[in-house]
């Protein structure tokens, strides 16, 4: 893992400019996908509206950078915190339901946010969105992260930090309860855990991290628009998680990379790359639900590792 990070860190030194942009975007999307994995992979909360976190974070940091003098290094985390905070309310509402109703509520909320972004032109710029979002240096004139490679390193550091946090989280007592909820919520309740509160917490965290990704996207691309809230993106990130390998944190990051590579390479040859992607997704759900990373790791531990037992539907 450390070697992989080191290799990636060398990217600005060896890659041409346009590939650098691609890798940076892959890292941002990777953070986005990883945040969703906390919900899908570890707690089995299927969200079809995660773009809400991404878009909200992007608009928040974009707005802060356009309308205040806050430096980028402060606007981004602030936007992420705001997203997480708002998400507590959303989580409270959505966790009122379970199963497919939960999924529908998350989708409905994302649609709601999408509609609001369209209509609230004064704040969000309506269908045009926010443009010209600057990467403001500071505080204290710190401008190391403003340049293309500087920003790349910022994203890399944030991603690695978030990954470390998430790994610690899933290995913590809190994480153990999440797994209990995933495998048998009724039993977890009977053990005395107030599972609703845990679900609200993990959803808020997931949205917060998703918002962090979005908050990085705004200064990265220089704009924020309603595409970032569209259900298509919500779907694409679910696909990234599944194809990459849910419940592994690293898998979804790979899934995001896979998605971008496919998008950029295939779109040169065919209009139908999204179709190919969707079909791949369906194939993975049916035949390889553990995803790329899951397949890879089981191959590595083939020496008698415990085989996956099928979870019972409670």
């Amino acid at each position: 893992m450390v070697t992989a990070a080191a290799v990636v860190a060398l990217a600005p030194l060896i890659l041409p400019l346009y590939l650098m942009t691609l890798v940076t975007e892959a890292l941002i999307l990777g953070l986005f996908a990883m945040s969703l994995d906390l919900m899908i992979g570890y707690t089995r909360l299927l969200s079809f509206g995660h773009a809400a976190a991404y878009g909200f974070g992007a608009y928040a940091s974009g707005w802060l950078l356009l309308h205040t003098q806050l430096p980028m290094l402060l606007a981004v985390p602030l936007a992420a915190l705001l997203t997480g905070f708002v998400a507590i309310g959303v989580a409270w509402v959505c966790t009122q339901a379970t199963g497919v109703s939960f999924s529908m509520l998350t989708l409905a909320f994302a649609q709601l946010l999408y509609a609001v972004a369209f209509k609230w032109t004064s704040v969000t710029g309506g269908s045009d969105g926010l443009a010209g979002i600057p990467r403001r240096p500071g505080p204290f004139g710190l401008d190391a992260f403003i340049s293309r490679s500087g920003f790349f390193y910022l994203v890399l550091i944030v991603l690695l930090g978030a990954l470390a946090f998430c790994q610690a989280l899933v290995r913590s007592p809190f994480g153990a309860v999440l797994r209990g909820i995933r495998e048998n919520e009724a039993k977890t309740l009977a053990l005395g855990y107030s599972t609703r509160r845990y679900k609200i917490a993990v959803v808020a965290l997931a949205y917060g991290l998703g918002g962090l990704a979005g908050a990085l996207y705004a200064p990265f691309a220089g704009f924020a628009n309603t595409e970032l809230l569209f259900w298509l993106l919500s779907g694409q990130v679910v696909i990234m998680v599944i194809i990459g390998g849910s419940g592994t944190l690293i898998g979804p990051i790979l899934g995001a990379g896979f998605f971008l590579v496919v998008e950029h390479q295939l779109s040169n040859y065919t209009e139908a790359w999204a179709l190919f992607f969707g079909l791949t997704f369906i194939v993975f759900v049916i035949f390889a639900p553990e995803g790329i990373w899951g397949l890879f790791t089981t191959r590595l531990t083939r020496d008698g590792a415990t085989p996956r037992a099928k979870p019972k539907e409670g």
Binding site: S172, V177, L189, L191, P307
Partner: protein, 249 residues
């Protein structure tokens, strides 16, 4: 004051009265068996006590505190652990992890987002003890979903024990167990109960198990209590024998 007080507990499903004005008093330290023909309402009773379903009438009190109306986790936090008639485990976690999650439930620190190594160590110890008591130490590292049916049922009991409960609700713990496994389970449970400190409510079909473990028996028939007393008294009760169609030795 009894540890568990159930008063006029009633639950209807459409036209069927599953639990019919059940009144019971379980004293602390008692091992109370609840028996009755199939459909007598025994599992529903457990679900009512633990808040999985709400009663139409009646109250359940535990150590003087009213349980009825509380959500399930809050009820169980009072010190009540239960096993399920249909084995309920965490299939992809190892047996040890299952028991550890049960032991962890008693801790407030279970909200820790990071770290938690001391918490895991403590809970792990209690888990290991519980597993050993039930002879499950050899399979502690196997995923629960891959255990034999018998081991799974014993694991559920181990999990309940790991919670260190004041009241233990066992729902047909020996169901599906072989003769040898049943004997092992009964032996273990007798040993535990002999140490005292735990009150048990036991739903069982196997009469030998009931007579080995229980010091009081309540008989349900069509949701209502038809007899309540010592094992000897129940054995001789005519109405009970009628309900069971042919009685039992």
């Amino acid at each position: 004051m009894a540890l568990l007080e159930i008063d006029e507990l009633t639950r209807r499903f459409g036209g069927i009265v599953a639990v019919d004005r059940v009144t019971m008093r379980v004293a602390e330290g008692e091992v109370r068996a609840v028996i009755g023909p199939n459909g007598a309402g025994k599992s529903t009773l457990f679900n009512l006590i633990t808040g999985v379903i709400k009663p139409n009438q009646g109250i359940v009190r535990f150590a003087g505190k009213r349980l009825t109306g509380l959500p399930t986790p809050r009820i169980c936090q009072h010190g009540i652990a239960r096993t399920f008639q249909l084995t309920a485990l965490f299939p992809e976690m190892t047996a040890r992890e299952n028991a550890r999650l049960a032991a962890q439930a008693g801790e407030h620190r279970r909200w820790l987002f990071v770290g938690g190594s001391t918490l895991f160590a403590d809970a792990g110890r209690r888990a290991d003890t519980a597993l050993e008591r039930l002879g499950l130490a050899p399979i502690a590292n196997r995923p629960a979903g891959l255990l034999s049916h018998g081991d799974q049922r014993l694991l559920e009991v181990a999990m309940a024990l790991a919670q260190n409960p004041r009241l233990l609700l066992l729902d047909e713990p020996t169901q599906g167990l072989s003769v040898e496994e049943t004997a092992r389970a009964v032996e273990t449970l007798s040993g535990l109960l002999a140490e005292g400190g735990m009150t048990v409510l036991l739903v069982e079909h196997d009469m030998e198990v009931v007579f080995s473990l229980a010091n009081k028996i309540t008989v349900l028939h069509r949701g209502a209590v038809i007899a309540d007393g010592t094992p000897q008294a129940i054995k001789n009760d005519a109405e009970v024998q009628r309900a069971y169609l042919g009685g039992f030795a």
